[in-house]
Assembly symmetry: C2
Homo-oligomer: 479 residues x 2
Amino acid sequence: MDLVKLFKPKSMAVVGISKKNPLSPGRIVLLKNEFEMNVKVYGIYPTAGEIEGIQLYERLDKLPEMPDLLVIAVGPDDTLGYIQDCADLGIPASVVIGGGFAEIGGKGIKRQQELEKIAFENDLAVLGPNCLGVYAPPIVDTIFLPTERITRPPRGSVALISQSGGVLVDQFFVKFNERNIGVSTAVSIGNRAVVDESMLLKYFSTVDKETSNIAFYLEGFKEGKAREFLQLAKESEDTVIVFFGGKTREGKVATQSHTASLAGNYRIIYAALRQHYIIQPHSERELLTSLKVYDILSKRRNPFGDNVVTYGDVTIVSVSGGHAVLASDMLKTYGLNAIRFTRQEKKDLKERMNPVAREIASFNNPIDLTGSVLDTDIENIIRYLSDIERIECIILLLLPYPPNISFQIGRRIANIVSSKNKPVVCFVPYVPKYSLIIESLELANIPVFHSIKETVQAVSALKHRTRITNIKQGNIHWE
Amino acid sequence: MDLVKLFKPKSMAVVGISKKNPLSPGRIVLLKNEFEMNVKVYGIYPTAGEIEGIQLYERLDKLPEMPDLLVIAVGPDDTLGYIQDCADLGIPASVVIGGGFAEIGGKGIKRQQELEKIAFENDLAVLGPNCLGVYAPPIVDTIFLPTERITRPPRGSVALISQSGGVLVDQFFVKFNERNIGVSTAVSIGNRAVVDESMLLKYFSTVDKETSNIAFYLEGFKEGKAREFLQLAKESEDTVIVFFGGKTREGKVATQSHTASLAGNYRIIYAALRQHYIIQPHSERELLTSLKVYDILSKRRNPFGDNVVTYGDVTIVSVSGGHAVLASDMLKTYGLNAIRFTRQEKKDLKERMNPVAREIASFNNPIDLTGSVLDTDIENIIRYLSDIERIECIILLLLPYPPNISFQIGRRIANIVSSKNKPVVCFVPYVPKYSLIIESLELANIPVFHSIKETVQAVSALKHRTRITNIKQGNIHWE
C-alpha cells in the first residue's frame, strides 16, 4: 500500500463541494489546497462550472489526469461509490472525511466492512473514515477547518498521528506552536479502517526521511494489530511515543461514544509498551516537553548516541534561590541526581564570580548566583561546569530580571554550549520581551522551557531517550 | 505594629542611592516610586544634590517631614544604624533590601538579632532583610528590579506573600499576568526577622479590604510561629493557600543556602494545614489554577456560600470527542463525578441540536456536540443543563475551530450563565485570535483555562473551597 501518494501527492481531487455553502468541508479543502498548498487540485461537481476561479469537473473520469489522492467529503453511502471509483480508475490514495461508519454501530459497521473490502482488495490507501486526514506541509492539507481558525505548527522532525482530530488540531497544533516544536506530517486517522497506526509507524520509520520522532495519540490499538505495532516500534530507530486517552472508566465511556475503540487494560499495555522501548508520557505536558527536546536534538548529528545524559547526573544553576529550591524538589521524582561538588570545585566556582555576587552566592548544587550576577559570571560558571566530566547535563534557570543581565546573555551561553558540547537545558520565563534571549538559545539548539517543571521533565526525557538508544545498542540494560 | 504604613504609606524615603550607577537598587526604587507610583518620595544622599530632577537630602532628620516608610538599600552594618534612626525619628515602617544577616550565618545572625531587638522594642514594622519588599499598587513598589524588565500582574483580590523574591516576580507575576489573576498586594518577606507570615495573614484577613484570597510561598514556618499561623488561618474568612518549596531532601539543601529556613517534616505539616482548612496545592500549576478561580469568583456576591460545587457532580460538554475523553480521564483524580443522564434527558438534549449534528453527536456524559455544532446548539444545551439541579458545575470544552461557531459565542454563553447562575468553567485554547471569546466569558466572571487539566483542576479547587466554607459554617464535616 503506497502511503507516499497519501502524504506527497502530485495531484488531488475533491468530491462533496457545495456551491451554496462556503463553509462546507469539501469546499474548504478544495480552496485551501488550491490557494495555500503545493498540489495540483481538481474539484468534482455534478454540473461542473467553477468556484473562485477553480474549474470543476462533472465526474472523476472526466478529469484531464487521474489524481494521486481523492478527498471524499460526502455522506457514507456515496462514499462507498467513490471508493469503488478509486479502484476502477486507479486512484491509489483517498481521505474519507465523513462519519456514519463503525462509530455509529449497526449499519455503519457493515458500511465500514465494505469499504475495507474494496480498499484491501485493490490496495488502496484509504485514510479514515471519520477523520480530518492529512496535514503534510508544504504539499497537502485535508483538514476541513478554515486555516485562519486553527494554528499551524512549525515544520520539523515530529510525525503526529492522532485518533482524535480535535486533539490533533488543538492540543497538538496549538501547543506545538507555542513551544516551537516542529512537525513533519500530521495525520488524523479517525476509524482507521484501512490505514492504521502500524502502517503509519512503518512508513514514518522507514520511508519518510524528514521524520525522526513519531508521536501517537491513541485511545486503544486497532484490534489484532497491537503485536505488530510493538514489534515495529522495537525495530525503529526513531523515537516512538504513545500517549493514551481513555485510560480510566470515565474516559472509556467517552471513547466508546466517539471512535468506537476500546482502551484495554492500561496496566498491561503500559508494561508491553515499555518492553518495546516506547516512550509513554504521564501527562500531555510531559508529552510536549519530551517532543520539544527530541525535536531540537534531531537537528544535531547523532543526537542520542553520545551517552549524553545516561544516568541523570545534573547540576542546577539559578539566579533565584527560590527557583533553585523548586527545581531541586523535582529532581528525584524525575529520576535525576544532583552531583556533589568538591571543596576545590566550590572554591573554583566562587573565584569565577564578580566580587559582590561572590559573597552572597551559594556554590552547593543547586548553585544560586543571586540577582547581583553579571553576564560574565554566568559565562564563567557555565564554561567551568562544562569541563566537569561527571556532570551530564546543566539545568540553567535564567531569569533576565537582574539589571546587569544583558540581551547578549543568550548568545554568550549559546557560544559556550556550542563549543563545549555539554547538554544545557534552560528555563527562561515566557515573556515576549525576552524573545531575543530565548531565540539566541534555541538557534543553538539549546531547548528553552517556560516552567521549572517542564525544564526538569525535559532532562528526564533526555535521559530516558539516551538510555533507550544505549539499550538497543546493547550498552546497558533496563533496570 | 502598624502594617498600614508599610503597604499604604503617604510618604517614603530611600537610603542607599548611587549617583554613579543608574542600576543600583536604591536608585531604581527612588525613581520608580517617583515616576510610576502614588507616594511622596524623598531621596537621602550625604552631599544632597539631585538625581533626574528629584531633590536629595543629606540625612533623614533634614527631611521636610518624617516619612511613613524608609527603604534601606545599604550594607548590613549601616542598615542597623538606619533602623535605629527609624526608632529615634519615629519612622514606623521600613523595608530592608540588603543581605548579610541570618542567611549568611555567623555574625549575620547576630546582626539580625540586633535588628529584631530595635524593631520589637520600638514597634517598628521592618520587612526583610534580604528581600524585594512590597508591591502595593497603586501606592508603592520597593522591588529594585527595573519595572520594564519584570511583568506586573493585574489588580485583584489575591495577596501574595513569598519567602523568595525570585519566585514572587517570576513564578507569580509572570503567570498571574498570563492567566489574568489579580493581585491586591505582593510581599517578599526575605528573612522575615520582624514582619512574618503570621502578621501578614492577620493583616490581610482583618485589615485589608481589597484582599479575599491570601497565598503564601514558604520554605518553612518561622520558628515558634506555626501554631499562631494555623490558628489565624482557621479563623480567617478569606481563602488561605500555602505552597511549600523545599519539601524534599534535595530542596532542603537548596533552602539552607538561600533563606536560612528549614522545611520541617512535610507530612506532619501537610496534616496540620489540612486540619486548619488551609488549601495546599500539589503543584505550582494547581496553585495558579486555584487562585484564578478564587480571584474571579471573589467578584461575585457570596462566592463560596451558595453550596455551588459541594460534591463535585459535573457534566462535560465538548465539541471534540478527544477533548471529552481527556477531561473524563481526569475526573476521578480530582474528586469529581460525571452525573448520569436519564433516557428522557438524553432525548431532550438531542432535540435541542440542529438536525445534522444531532445524528452524530453523543449525549452521554461527556456530551460531544461534534464539529458540526452551531452557536445555537451550544446555547440550547447549556441552557437546558443549567436547569438540571443535580449538576453542580458544567465543564465546557469550547474549541472555536468549527466554521459555524461565531465570535458571539462567548457573549451568548455569558448571557445564559449570568441569568441561570449555574457554575460553568471553560476551556478555550490560548490563541490570541480567540481573545474576543475568552474576554466575553471572563467579563461575565466565567473562568477560562487553556489546558484541559487546568479546567478540571479549577472545578476541583472550587469544590474544595466550597466545602471549607460549608465546614466552617457547620453544614458538613471533613470526610
